[in-house]
Symmetry: C2
């Protein structure tokens, strides 16, 4: 399997880097880090062991890349406007594109923009940050679940999961992509937005009675919203997420880092789309909608 990684940052760099480090054939697209990485390679400081990926297969433009069988997309969803232009250079007729992205609706949009393309979703459970040019810091966790969208080949995706497992990354084929996406939202929805609006990392939120109660209420809204959409998320999953977060070191989710670094926030796919999906099925996720409105205000009025 020939792999491509689009958006080689905290997510794409870690997962693609692990595959390359294990000997797979992986081709990486870089933007601002290209010159640095071509010369020095890129570095992953990981709780599972540090390593460096050489710059041999680094590219500065999609047009220079080979056609690949599996494309891992690690772009922020705020950059999805350029996705089609990039993919056109890289995919062949049997390629599968795995969107390792947050939120709901990314596969729908890609399927609309590139009909006939095999698409899948990647759900990364990981604390990982880009801390400099060609330099990624992997702090905690690292599991990735992959789920087919529509009629994408389960066999190829199973092979990708096996490659991840061989590379030391826990990976499972999700039976139901929508279930997996909603499940991930149980954590992402409260923590991404609240850390921004409340100006706090996860730890202070977990230690504060009011904020923790709010986190639970929002998680319950996600579960109720999922069920309204026909996705049978169980309420018990909330306790598991709370327990996991309690054990985490103080953490800034990706949206908090985006906000702190004055980058656009992934409001559309993490908030607007799930709220719209639930509402289309008759359930109003009121607190999540409120957080979406607060985030939209903050982003728009940021000076």
């Amino acid at each position: 399997v020939k792999y491509a990684v689009i958006g080689t940052g905290a997510i794409g760099g870690y997962y693609g880097g692990k595959l390359a480090h294990a000997g797979n054939d992986v081709h990486f697209l870089f933007h601002s880090d290209y010159t640095h990485v071509k010369e020095h390679g890129f570095r992953v400081d990981s709780i599972g062991g540090d390593f460096i990926v050489p710059g041999t297969n680094a590219y500065g433009a999609a047009a220079d890349m080979p056609k690949c069988d599996v494309v891992l997309v690690g772009l922020k969803t705020t950059n999805n406007g350029i996705l089609k232009d990039i993919l056109q250079h890289i995919v062949h007729k049997d390629s599968i594109v795995i969107l390792i992205q947050n939120g709901l609706g990314v596969e729908d949009d890609l399927a609309r923009d590139m009909p006939g393309l095999q698409t899948a979703g990647g759900l990364a459970f990981i604390c990982s940050n880009r801390i400099g040019a060609g330099h990624i810091h992997h702090l905690d966790q690292g599991r990735i679940n992959i789920g087919a969208y529509g009629d994408a080949s389960r066999d190829v995706l199973k092979r990708v999961c096996d490659d991840f497992t061989s590379a030391g990354v826990e990976s499972h084929l999700a039976e139901d992509l929508m279930f997996a996406r909603w499940q991930k939202l149980v954590w992402n929805i409260p923590f991404n937005g609240l850390t921004v609006v409340l100006g706090s990392e996860t730890d202070r939120i977990m230690k504060n009675e009011s904020a923790l109660a709010l986190v639970r209420e929002m998680m319950n809204e996600v579960v109720d919203g999922a069920n309204a959409c026909g996705v049978p998320l169980k309420r018990e999953f909330i306790d598991a997420m709370i327990e996991t977060t309690m054990k985490m070191p103080p953490y800034s989710p990706s949206m908090k880092l985006d906000w702190d670094n004055r980058r656009p926030m992934e409001i559309e796919y993490i908030y607007t789309r799930p709220v719209a999906a639930a509402l289309a099925h008759g359930f109003d996720m009121r607190k999540i909608s409120m957080l979406e409105r607060q985030l939209r205000f903050l982003e728009k009025t940021r000076v």
Copy 2:
């Protein structure tokens, strides 16, 4: 009528000041501003005309004050713990205490602490700030509505309204105090908390599509909560409040000023009590509850 003013700040100073300036017998209790005011009087810079109230009737301790017929309480509700100790020195058996305070439940608490005392609520519709020692700035509006609590004398309260009117302050006797308090919450609930959490004055909120939509949604929750409690607030009142706020200059509500100046916020009476009251009648004001939790977090974790 002999008047006392407890808490001579932005609210008590303006309303008591207007009464005194019109020739009424008004006695003012000061805390930190006492020495300054005793010597220089206090100054009200008002859109209705600037004036100075001499320090003759200024007091630094409740024990030094005469018994008064009508007590106007302009304290922040966060100081209501000292209210009973102060009032004991000032009230006689027929006194009426008018709580010119925000939120829901202040009269309940006073009636519990001082059984038999005649109590009323004052609803101030005013943009007014204390900008220095014995110095108040009245920027906009100024109406005060007064409503009897329990069996407080309507006749005396009508007389107070007349005194206000004669002093150039629009004033009405509210038929139903609970109606008046809930009505005031339609504005206070969205703007007090959102200006804190979003770090913005009213004007930027009004100009932002998402924030304005959220304001409307929260106002609708207040109307629904009031109706659940048997208070027949009408939805049309929301449009009136939006229109009024559109015309206001950029404004920081009292809670925003409290936050900016590192004072305690009036979360209990503006948020916690209304949420509890509606919930006791089966209606969950979900967005208002969310704002309460966000404010509790911010207050508790403020460094």
